[in-house]
Symmetry: C2
Subunit: 318 residues, 2 copies
């Protein structure tokens, strides 16, 4: 089988880090063969708008609209509405760009009209010219709740943005998950997948919610295909965001080994960074690449390296 041709790739991601890998994959996988399954545990209601930060980061990144300085939000956006909110004695602690608000308005109005989040994301992706498939992990509202020492239990964005992930976390819960269902779109993507990748996203905040969707773990394990995670931890720290701090607070070692072990039998392979020492694999294969993605070239290179490695292993076992 020629590299990447007709290989269906499903990748699980959260926000910025995962979106970067997805952009790399978009450069090396035909769009009809690429499905990005996105965490929705961060989604929340704010000023009456339904906001899906991770989905939007993926939409904006794959469509080339993203603010490259931040890694999220729309490039060259303004904040006229946000500034006007402040003149109305409001305290809008979440950044709402004017262009970004258009995305929230489309999503909110269509949700209110009864459309599924899956259908809405499909519509937004099409409107933005994205040919790959982007799927929310579920259509249900499953807010990740963060219990902290200082402020009690917070909605994720309150913890992450309002309190800048500074409180000490004692517990994470994925609320309403027992009532969530895996969507048909995700089930079909997994059935047709030739490999599943797990992006270099926060294992506890981005990937664990996806794996917690009822049926998701079973659907993954039922497939005899490569399932490969990419480390979000390099040289004992997270490249971005609270992954390291959070792992420490919840009693994990901050290392690629701890991430790989956290995924356990969900994965058959693990990509660590060349900067780190070798892992002791427990039932999964390990490879090291340069996982730091600064330029678009870095992203395609890493995506290509992972695909080649997975494909070669797959051929060996055939």
């Amino acid at each position: 089988m020629a590299m990447n041709d007709n290989l269906n790739v499903v990748v699980f991601v959260g926000g910025v880090g995962g979106a970067k890998l997805a952009l790399g994959l978009q450069a090396v996988v035909p769009p009809e063969n690429l499905t990005v399954v996105v965490n929705t545990g961060d989604d929340f209601w704010h000023y009456g708008l339904r906001i899906c930060p991770d989905i939007d980061t993926v939409l904006y990144t794959l469509s080339g609209r993203v603010n490259r300085e931040f890694g999220w939000g729309v490039a060259d956006d303004s904040t006229v509405t946000l500034d006007a909110l402040k003149t109305l004695d409001e305290n809008p602690w979440f950044l709402l760009g004017d262009k970004d608000i258009a995305t929230h308005l489309v999503r909110t109005s269509r949700l209110r009209a009864g459309e599924s989040l899956t259908g809405i994301v499909r519509r937004l992706a099409q409107a933005m010219g994205i040919e790959a498939t982007i799927l929310p992990m579920t259509d249900a509202e499953v807010p990740t709740m963060v219990t902290t020492e200082e402020h009690g239990t917070l909605e994720f964005q309150e913890y992450f943005v309002k309190h800048r992930w500074q409180p000490t976390v004692t517990e994470l819960t994925y609320q309403n998950m027992e009532n969530a269902e895996m969507t048909e779109a995700v089930a079909t993507a997994l059935s047709n997948a030739d490999m599943v990748l797990i992006g270099p996203s926060n294992p506890l905040l981005s990937i664990a919610p996806i794996l917690a969707v009822p049926g998701m773990r079973e659907a993954l394990m039922a497939r005899d295909i490569p399932r490969v995670a990419v480390t979000p931890i390099v040289e004992g720290d997270a490249l971005k965001g609270p992954a390291a701090k959070l792992m420490r607070e919840l009693g994990y070692e901050v290392s690629p080994q701890a991430v790989a072990d956290f995924y356990g039998d969900v994965i058959t392979g693990f990509v660590s960074d060349v900067r780190d020492t070798a892992l002791k694999p427990h039932g999964y294969d390990v490879v090291s690449f340069d996982t730091i993605m600064k330029s678009d070239a870095d992203k395609s290179r890493l995506a290509g390296e992972i695909l080649r490695w997975v494909t070669k292993r797959k051929e060996k076992t055939l």
Copy 2:
């Protein structure tokens, strides 16, 4: 009694025309004595936002924020969100300015949180520095539905903005009105009123919905105080909007006489325009002023003339 001092003035208004008179009244009546009761039959949901066009026109006019060219919307507003909506293959037929959206976000989120429209408008008015009282006619959703020959039954803004009030109207209905209640704030304002004015607003689209709120007409008629309407029809036409066309389509003569007769025993006085010939009053007094309000001076002048006339008549009857 000295002119205007301690006289409580309540004025019923719709959008632009009524807001102009309210601005004139604000210039000559102490704010603690002025209550503006606003039509909410035009309110609608659009892109998940609760939009109250008449209330916003009054808020923006009384706070000096209004776009003076249009008579509605916020001055110097931009349309970044609206333009972004168009790039998402949307057809946003209602003008959403970026500053204006902030007002809609505050209202929508607070409604979703269970606050009353009355409380939200009070909050917005305070934030905008308005000292007079602005009250929605009711807290219930009572959409005015417009039955047309060409397009069947439309929500008001669809008729008014999307179809630019061009369809032929065969019927107006004030939906859900049987479930609406007069608010305590409106009831108190009417109890304390020394006069009630009806602005030069569309009688059928702006004032009739206010009068249709259960209990409103009775509360008005129960008060032995001057109740004076200002003509929206001058020289056989409306100064703005569909009043003349609509009156014609619904079988009314397009004249100040027809407007006064439409209000009937709700009013004790009627202000027609100096450009028109004298009315034949049926149980109400009539006076003629220059009712065309272009400058702010025009607005205060007309407001002052009306108040002086009403006060003089009141004194005569004492």
